[in-house]
C-alpha cells in the first residue's frame, strides 16, 4: 500500500514539477504582452480590446480554433524535421527552401497523376514532396559531410536558390495553361479534386455528445464542420509520434543523436558520422518538404508565387525552428508549441483587422515573446539542477565529494 501511494505521490509530484517548469515561460509571455500593451497605448489602441481580439482570433470561435490549427500544421512539420536535424548536430536553417522544394515536387506529382484516383495521388504526392524536400536538405547535408561546407551558409543560400527555381518553374514548365498570355500570373494548374486532402471534422464520441446536449448545445455533434481544417493536421501528429519513436526507440535514431551529442565519441564507436549527418538533413528536409506539399494538397490546391519565400511559406521555415526549440527538441513537445505559435499568428492578424494596428507591431511583439521565453528557460535549468542535486544527495549513498559550490555562483 505504501509503495502504491508513494508512486502515486511521485507521479503527482513529477506532474507538478512539469507544470512549475512552465511558469517562467508563462511569466515571460506575460512580460512581452505588457510591453505590447504599452506599445498599443502609444498607438492609441486599447490594449484590453486588442488582447480580446487576439484571443478571439486564436481560440474564440470554432472557426478561429480551426484556423489556428491550420496555421500550425506547416510549423509542426518543419519543427519535427528540426528536431531530427538539431539532435543530429546539424543546424538546418533551410526550412523555407525545403518547404518550397517539397511543394514543387508534390504539386508536380499531383498534376501528373491527375487522372488517378485519390488513393494513389495523395500518398504519391506526399511521398514526392517528402523526397523533394529530403533531396534538397540532403544536398546541404552532403555538402557539409563530404565537402565541409558549413550548413548554416549552405541552407541560407539554398533558400534563395529554391525561390528562384520556383519562379522559373512556375513561369515556365509548370505554368497553368489557362494563364499563358498577357497576364501571366506564375501559378500551376489546380490539382484534381481527387488529389485534395479532405477536410477534417471530428465527430464527438457518444458520451461527450450526450453530455453537451444535456447542457443545451444543439446541432451536429462534430467539431470543425465547414472550416478549413484538413487531414494534414492528423498526418502531422502521426509524423510527430513516428519521429519520436525513430529518435528514441530505434538504432538509427540513437546513432543520429549520438553524432549530434559527441561527434568524436561516435566516430570511435564506429558510427559513420558523415552518413548520419546526411541522413539527418535528408529527413529534416523531407519533413519540411511535407509542410510544403500538405499546404498545397490541403489548402491552396495549386502553387503560386509572388517571388518571395514567405508568400507561400508564411515563414514556417523559421517559426518551425522556434517551435522545435520551445518544444525541447522533442517532436511531441513541438505539437503544443506549434499550436501556440499558430494561435499567436492567427490572433494577431485578427487584432490587426479589428483595430487597424499595423502588422509590424505584431512582428515586433512576436520577436519579444521569443526572446523573453527563451531567456526564461534559465530558471527552469537552475531549478532542475537544484532538484537533481537534492535527489542525488538524498536518495543515494553519500558521494565521495560534495557538489561544487561554484554551481551556485553563475557566470
Amino acid at each position: 500500500m505504501t509503495t502504491f501511494s508513494h508512486s502515486l505521490g511521485s507521479t503527482f509530484k513529477s506532474l507538478l514539477n512539469r507544470l512549475i517548469d512552465l511558469v517562467p515561460s508563462a511569466l515571460a509571455l506575460g512580460l512581452a504582452l505588457v510591453i505590447a500593451a504599452i506599445l498599443l497605448s502609444a498607438l492609441n489602441a486599447d490594449p484590453i480590446q486588442a488582447f480580446t481580439s487576439l484571443f478571439q482570433g486564436a481560440f474564440g470561435t470554432e472557426n478561429a480554433t480551426a484556423e489556428t490549427l491550420v496555421k500550425s500544421v506547416p510549423i509542426l512539420f518543419v519543427a519535427i524535421g528540426i528536431c531530427i536535424a538539431f539532435r543530429g548536430g546539424v543546424t538546418n536553417i533551410g526550412g523555407e527552401g525545403q518547404m518550397i522544394a517539397g511543394a514543387l515536387g508534390g504539386v508536380s506529382a499531383a498534376l501528373i497523376l491527375k487522372d488517378a484516383p485519390g488513393i494513389v495521388t495523395i500518398p504519391g504526392s506526399l511521398i514526392c514532396g517528402f523526397l523533394a524536400g529530403g533531396l534538397y536538405g540532403g544536398l546541404a547535408g552532403g555538402l557539409k559531410a563530404y565537402f565541409n561546407v558549413n550548413e548554416i551558409l549552405s541552407t541560407i543560400m539554398l533558400n534563395q536558390v529554391a525561390v528562384q527555381i520556383m519562379n522559373f518553374l512556375l513561369n515556365g514548365p509548370l505554368l497553368d495553361p489557362s494563364e499563358a498570355g498577357a497576364n501571366h500570373i506564375p501559378k500551376t494548374a489546380r490539382i484534381a479534386e481527387a488529389s485534395e486532402l479532405p477536410r477534417l471534422s471530428l465527430t464527438l464520441p457518444e458520451g461527450i455528445a450526450n453530455a453537451l446536449r444535456s447542457l443545451g448545445f444543439t446541432g451536429e455533434p462534430s467539431l470543425f464542420d465547414r472550416t478549413r481544417l484538413h487531414w494534414g493536421f492528423i498526418i502531422a501528429i502521426v509524423l510527430a509520434v513516428v519521429v519520436y519513436i525513430l529518435l528514441w526507440r530505434t538504432t538509427i535514431g540513437y546513432r543520429i543523436r549520438a553524432v549530434g551529442e559527441n561527434e568524436r565519441a561516435s566516430r570511435y564507436a564506429g558510427i559513420s558520422v558523415k552518413r548520419h549527418m546526411l541522413l539527418a538533413m535528408f529527413l529534416a528536409g523531407g519533413c519540411a518538404g511535407l509542410a510544403g506539399v500538405v499546404q498545397v494538397l490541403g489548402l491552396t490546391y495549386r502553387l503560386q508565387t509572388d517571388g518571395s519565400t514567405a508568400g507561400f511559406t508564411a515563414n514556417a521555415g523559421f517559426n518551425g525552428i522556434v517551435a522545435a526549440l520551445f518544444g525541447g527538441l522533442n517532436p511531441i513537445g513541438a505539437i503544443p508549441a506549434s499550436a501556440f505559435f499558430g494561435g499567436l499568428l492567427v490572433g494577431a492578424q485578427k487584432m490587426q483587422r479589428d483595430l487597424g494596428v499595423p502588422a509590424s507591431l505584431i512582428t515586433a511583439v512576436n520577436g519579444l515573446i521569443v526572446v523573453f521565453v527563451v531567456s526564461s528557460q534559465i530558471f527552469v535549468k537552475i531549478r532542475n539542477r537544484r532538484r537533481l542535486k537534492a535527489l542525488v544527495t538524498s536518495t543515494s549513498a553519500p558521494l565521495t565529494s560534495p557538489a561544487p559550490h561554484a554551481l551556485e555562483s553563475e557566470v
Binding site: 497576364n183 506564375p186 491552396t300 503560386q304 508568400g311 483587422r353
Partner: protein, 299 residues
C-alpha cells in the same frame, strides 16, 4: 374592403417602403480590402488605399466605410481575413487586391453568395455571379511614358527596372518598350527584372548599372522603385513612374506618372451592388475611361 380602408392601407404601405428605403440608405456601405504590401508603398497597395479614401471623401464617412489589411504578403493570411470578413456578414464588398489572391476568391466566393467580391489585377471572374474582376491596361500609360522618355533622352539609352515578369508589371514594361521604339526606333531600352517586388538594395544596384551604361532615363514598377528613384535623383536622370504618383519622392527627376484610379471601377461596382448585381463583370482601367491618369512630376 371599402375604398377608405384601401386608401389608408396604400398610404401605410408607401410610408413603410419610404422608411425602408431611407433606412437602407442610412446603413453605410462597408468595404474591406486586403493588400500584399504597405498602404504607403507609393505603388500597388497604395493605389487601392488611395482609391478607397477618395470614395470615402466623396460619399462621406457616414455613407462609406472601409477596413484595409495591408502587408498581407502571406497569401494564406488573406484567405483567413477574407473568410473572417465574409462570415461576419457586415461587409457589402470584399476586395482582394493582388493577383496572388485569385485562388482564394475562386474557393471562397461560392460559399458566400450574398457577399460581393472584387479582385485584381485580372479579368477572370471565374464565371461566378458574385465576383468582379479589375485590372489596369498598364501598357497604355507605359506606351505614353516610353514615347516621352525616348524623346527626352539625350544619350539614347533608357533603363527599366522591373520586379517579376507578371501581371501589370509585365504589361507596363512591354508598353513602355513599345512606346519608346515607336517614338524613336533607334533608342536603346534595357530591361532588368530583379525577381522581387521588394528588394530595394538589388533594385538600386540595377539602376546604378543602367546609369553606368549611359542611361539617363529610368523607369520601373512595384514598391522597390524607391531605390531607383533615389539613384535617378543622384545622377540627374529622369524618372517615369506607374501605379501611384511618386512625384514627391522623385522631386526634380520625376517627369510623368501613370496613376491608377481604381475609384473609377469602385464607383461602378458600388452602384451595381446597391442595385442588386453582385458580380460578373470585369473592368479595365484605361486612359479613355479615366481609370488611368497621367500626372506630371516636378521636372
Amino acid at each position: 374592403m371599402s375604398k377608405k380602408v384601401q386608401f389608408v392601407l396604400l398610404v401605410v404601405l408607401v410610408m413603410l417602403s419610404a422608411v425602408t428605403i431611407v433606412h437602407a440608405q442610412d446603413k453605410p456601405f462597408k468595404v474591406a480590402a486586403v493588400a500584399p504590401s504597405a498602404k504607403n508603398d507609393l505603388a500597388f497597395s497604395q493605389s487601392m488605399f488611395d482609391a478607397l479614401t477618395a470614395i470615402q471623401n466623396e460619399l462621406g464617412e457616414d455613407k462609406f466605410q472601409f477596413d484595409f489589411q495591408e502587408g498581407t504578403f502571406v497569401v494564406d493570411d488573406a484567405a483567413v481575413a477574407l473568410r473572417d470578413w465574409a462570415s461576419s456578414g457586415e461587409y457589402d464588398l470584399l476586395i482582394a487586391h493582388g493577383s496572388q489572391y485569385g485562388a482564394i476568391i475562386e474557393e471562397l466566393a461560392p460559399e458566400f453568395p450574398d457577399v460581393s467580391f472584387a479582385w485584381g489585377t485580372d479579368v477572370n471572374t471565374f464565371g461566378l455571379p458574385n465576383v468582379f474582376a479589375y485590372t489596369a491596361a498598364a501598357n497604355e500609360g507605359g506606351f505614353v511614358n516610353g514615347a516621352l522618355a525616348a524623346l527626352m533622352t539625350k544619350t539614347g539609352v533608357i533603363g527599366v527596372i522591373g520586379p517579376i515578369e507578371v501581371g501589370d508589371a509585365k504589361m507596363y514594361v512591354d508598353g513602355f518598350v513599345a512606346g519608346a521604339k515607336a517614338a524613336k526606333p533607334d533608342v536603346t531600352v534595357n530591361v532588368t527584372y530583379i525577381q522581387s517586388f521588394s528588394d530595394v538594395p538589388l533594385a538600386t544596384e540595377a539602376a546604378k548599372a543602367h546609369i553606368a551604361n549611359k542611361a539617363d532615363v529610368l523607369t520601373g514598377t512595384a514598391q522597390m522603385v524607391v531605390g531607383p528613384i533615389a539613384v535617378a535623383q543622384e545622377n540627374n536622370a529622369l524618372w517615369f513612374g506607374t501605379q501611384s504618383s511618386q512625384a514627391d519622392l522623385a522631386a526634380g527627376s520625376g517627369v510623368l506618372f501613370q496613376v491608377y484610379k481604381w475609384e473609377v471601377v469602385l464607383r461602378d461596382v458600388i452602384a451595381k451592388i446597391q442595385s442588386g448585381t453582385l458580380g460578373g463583370e470585369a473592368y479595365t482601367l484605361t486612359l479613355a475611361n479615366g481609370g488611368l491618369v497621367m500626372e506630371k512630376g516636378a521636372h
